[in-house]
Point group: C2
Chain length 234, copies 2
């Protein structure tokens, strides 16, 4: 049985906190499937710890899950990179705060062939363990690029790329003509898209509701899926 | 300050467990918005506890949230009821186990005007606090009816109502003709739709993916939203 030192346990555990993820430039991935995806991806896997090798007690100490998985990897955070000006169909997230939502949105982007997701500075951190888990590996396939969204939207428009956003007073998504490329902006869970970003949106879209009784909104990840589905269907 | 007795605290706390929810026929709702929706709904609200009245310490003891909300209601569980044979567009959930998924699906059903959701016996319990919170009040507007899904699907077909389901080997959802009424079956998070239910499905649908790199699946709530959006758009 290969061993893990106390210092190593301490380091892996420290990655539960954003402060140490930032300082060390590392994050944690757990579970057979996710670790396999990390190894296949372009990300640098610094170390893999297996329960078989370090024992159940040590695994329980380093795991961030309530039921520790059999394998955990420490992965190096890549420098954010991506096209400065979007091409194809891209997403921009304006203040998405919930880690489950961000992870689910990455999975949705991956499914619908959106290669780049721009995130405002106040979005939840990409390497938050809940984001990683909810993304189901899509974090390794979709480029996530921090961006100043108003500036990005202006760049898109200057390049002739339409900028879309969803609003409660937008036009029926099902009846608008949607281009094959463009930037789709999704807003914060409670406040939606900020005014300074909204000001740069060309086409304000609405997902119509069909209930009589009145659900007030859709979850932002769900709204993202319905919107991207509409862009992709032909 | 009106007081809450130790026995009352104990009773409210006991509702964290399914066993006691079943025994007492009660469940808990928290937060201004949800409690207001409970009061406006046809559900019987047995008791409302406010932080202003019982004090912060007592509220912290009865609350199920990590940040206790200012108001908590104890609500009586209604007897499940609903049309024995579906009418309009209905959903059937075959073994949806995650409470967040069930709650989110109810919110989606509410948005898309689906009035009845049939659930198999092995779905997560409707009155699980996480289901209630994730539903954002839709639990009070959408009828949830326990059902034997193979029998229900047979009844639908006998009544001339088509039964749809999503499968990895289904036909492109965007190219199929979808009827205005029907039963849409969504499966378990990992295993999908059980063979005995799948055998009763008339139209096997697939949500196509557009990525090159390969997300393997969509979350079941997200898939439900994309599917219902496609049924409702015209």
């Amino acid at each position: 049985m290969s061993s893990i030192t106390q210092a190593e346990i301490k380091q892996v555990r420290s990655l539960r906190e954003k402060k140490f993820r930032d300082e060390l430039g590392l994050f944690v991935v757990e579970g057979e499937k996710l670790v396999e995806e990390a190894l296949r991806s372009g990300f640098e896997v610094v170390r893999v710890w297996r329960r078989d090798e370090i024992g159940e007690a040590a695994m329980a100490r380093i795991s961030q899950l309530s039921t520790p998985s059999p394998v955990l990897a420490v992965v190096s955070r890549p420098a954010p990179q991506g096209p400065a000006v979007p091409t194809g169909l891209c997403l921009a997230l304006d203040g998405v705060r919930d880690p489950g939502n961000l992870g689910t949105i990455l999975r949705i982007a991956d499914w619908f062939g959106v290669e780049t997701v721009y995130v405002s500075e106040d979005c939840v951190e990409l390497f938050n363990p809940k984001v990683i888990q909810a993304s189901m590996g899509s974090v390794f396939r979709v480029r996530v690029v921090p961006a100043d969204l108003p500036a990005l939207a202006r760049q898109c428009r200057a390049a002739g790329m339409p900028v879309y956003g969803t609003f409660l007073d937008g036009k029926d998504l099902y009846r608008e003509t949607l281009s094959r490329e463009g930037l789709v902006v999704m807003g914060n869970e409670a406040a939606g898209i900020r005014p300074e970003v909204a000001a740069e949106v060309d086409a304000r879209l609405l997902i119509p509701s069909f209930g009589r009784s009145g659900a007030e909104s859709l979850n932002v990840a769900v709204a993202t899926a319905v919107t991207l589905s509409e862009f992709r269907r032909r």
